[in-house]
């Protein structure tokens, strides 16, 4: 984190607690790693795109709680976030469309067995499921972050006006 700014800038509100800041700085990478694990293990255990995406979004919420929206917001540019949450839906819908394209129109939309992958039919279905779980995860993560960041900015603005 940018410590210089926080010492000088007045608008930079922080929790001010060194324990909270250090713990969350250490924890966030592990939470994100766990989120990726949950997304990728949707096919062999409890988990999936929705759950993993929410955990990933929660890591950004933790950052905002610890460092304040002004500092944490810089780490997660809004333009990227906006692009991300349509990317997820595009991945999902795109995999579905790819099934039609790869089979030259013979297969149905979202029939993963016809994707051009060098494995047998059933295995392709498993891989197709993994792809769409990634898409769902990206969308859910970006939307959770978007909603929380926007609410936090709103609060920040309202307090600034007073």
């Amino acid at each position: 984190m940018n410590t210089e700014k926080s010492e000088t800038g007045e608008g930079k509100k922080r929790s001010g607690d060194v324990i909270v800041e250090t713990v969350s700085r250490v924890m966030v990478p592990f939470i994100q790693l766990f989120a990726l694990y949950v997304i990728m293990h949707g096919s062999s255990g409890p988990g999936g795109g929705f759950q993993g995406g929410v955990i990933f979004g929660a890591s950004f919420v933790l950052l905002v709680i610890a460092f304040g929206i002004v500092n944490a917001g810089d780490r997660f540019p809004e333009a990227v976030n906006t692009a991300l949450f349509s990317t997820g839906v595009y991945i999902y819908a795109g995999v579905g469309l790819l099934c039609i394209i790869c089979s030259f129109g013979a297969a149905q939309y979202l029939n993963y067995g016809f994707l051009s992958l060098p494995v047998h039919f059933e295995e392709r279905r498993a891989l197709g499921m993994d792809f769409i779980e990634i898409g769902v995860g990206i969308t859910v993560m970006a939307v959770i972050a978007e909603i929380f960041f926007n609410l936090a900015w709103k609060k920040e603005e309202d307090e600034g006006e007073e």
Partner: protein, 181 residues
């Protein structure tokens, strides 16, 4: 005014009683023989004369007639599971062959006293028994969510996407960040 209060009270009581009745009527959670988890009863037939045919692996004609008369698909093969229980298999229609390439387990015949009960298997039975084989995924929630109900999950994702877009439209600050204060 008094009349409205009393009728409202009565309405609430009736509604409460209805909810209690509905809650009583739900099958036991996890009961493997309840209608949603196993099979739904279609009709009864007399067992006399049919048992021999069934034990020899032949579908009795009178039973096939009764099934056809009700507009249900005709079975083509019998398989005995245990004493007094048989599975009827059928071949899917030609246009469904791409989705269901092999024979499908469809009816369950159970001996009950001197009658034979004809049951139809629920969707869940096939889901549990053949899902892993069909998709190579061991988690039945995932193959249900992402494969069998792929369209449904696409819809759910777009609902979340819509929530994100609405928040963006309603709450996003227009270019003024309280950064340089």
């Amino acid at each position: 005014m008094k009349l409205i209060s009393i009728s409202a009270l009565l309405f609430v009581i009736v509604l409460g009683a209805l909810f209690i009745y509905v809650a009583e009527d739900i099958p036991d959670f996890g009961d493997p023989y309840s209608a949603p988890n196993c099979c739904i009863k279609l009709f009864d037939v007399d067992a006399a004369g049919l048992m021999d045919d069934l034990n020899q692996g032949v579908i009795p004609e009178s039973l096939a007639d009764k099934i056809e008369k009700r507009g249900l698909p005709l079975p083509i093969r019998v398989e005995s599971i245990e004493e007094g229980k048989w599975d009827f298999f059928l071949v899917p229609e030609e246009k469904q062959q791409a989705f269901y390439p092999k024979e499908q387990k469809y009816y369950l015949i159970k001996k009950e006293g001197d009658k034979l009960g004809v049951y139809r298997y629920s969707l869940v039975v096939r889901w549990i028994e053949e899902g892993e084989e069909e998709t190579e995924v061991i988690n039945m929630v995932t193959y249900g969510l992402a494969d069998y109900r792929g369209y449904d999950t696409l819809g759910e994702t777009s609902v979340i996407f819509t929530a994100g877009v609405s928040v963006l439209l309603l709450l996003r600050r227009r270019g003024k960040r309280p950064e340089a204060k």
